[in-house]
Symmetry: C2
Subunit: 148 residues, 2 copies
């Protein structure tokens, strides 16, 4: 039914913007990519480099450098795994956690503000739909499934 692509194009663009806006907090400004990395490191339990790179579908070499930057910024730390020294486990520093928390708070505020323009019923519907869409995309063979 009707113009799916247009709806998605606009939605995608708005998401990009939302993510651009999101990432200044605690006096630190980080890029969208960095914020996704931080989000994912916090979510996963001491993940390895490869894991996060895969999750975010970023080239590992690029990712390696991004982590270096985040380490320099003292937001992330990296320690070799004990049982297999090829692996490095990533975690957030205290500062990184604070930043993550801060971004989380402001993102939630943004989302709440956006949702405030809908009534209760619409809000529920939208959330349910996003879940549906996420799992449809997860099932999709053509796209969109890194390692989520």
């Amino acid at each position: 039914m009707e113009n799916k692509r247009e709806l998605f194009q606009i939605l995608t663009r708005r998401f990009v913007l939302l993510n651009k806006n999101c990432c200044t907090a605690e006096g630190i400004e980080i890029s969208t990519v960095h914020s996704h990395i931080i989000y994912e490191i916090e979510k996963q339990h001491s993940p390895t480099m490869q894991q996060i790179a895969d999750t975010l579908a970023i080239d590992v070499t690029t990712f390696s450098r991004q982590i270096q930057t985040l380490i320099k910024m003292q937001l992330v730390s990296k320690s070799p795994s004990l049982d297999d020294k090829r692996f490095f486990n990533l975690s957030l520093t205290a500062e990184g956690q604070k930043l993550a928390q801060s971004i989380e708070t402001s993102m939630n505020a943004y989302l709440d503000e956006i949702f405030s323009h809908m009534n209760e019923f619409e809000q529920e519907t939208v959330l349910r739909s996003i879940k549906l869409l996420n799992s449809a995309m997860a099932k999709s063979s053509v796209c969109c499934t890194p390692y989520l």
Copy 2:
């Protein structure tokens, strides 16, 4: 209610991937940004540089160079406006149109495939929800509204 942010984070990531996948067609490979530019030039009626840059919330100077690239690739053409020579009107070349069409087709195929994992009712609900979300974001004061 419940974890909005996570849902959006995952959805955003999937969109990014979907857009990454989309953009090879007619033997030409273009970036996500370029595909958005082409999409928008086709949609708007001989828009100016500024208009597209604003729509996509891209810095104009960056945009200027992106257009130069697309012109070199013979996908876009640019001609000074007759009544005000400061403006340039953008349009797609025949090749550009073919590419746009091709991307449109494959994006629709992707979306259809994704939607095929839902039943009729769910599909309707999801589309309606995306519309709701789009217009909620449009109303939002905190983010996401370039010049759509």
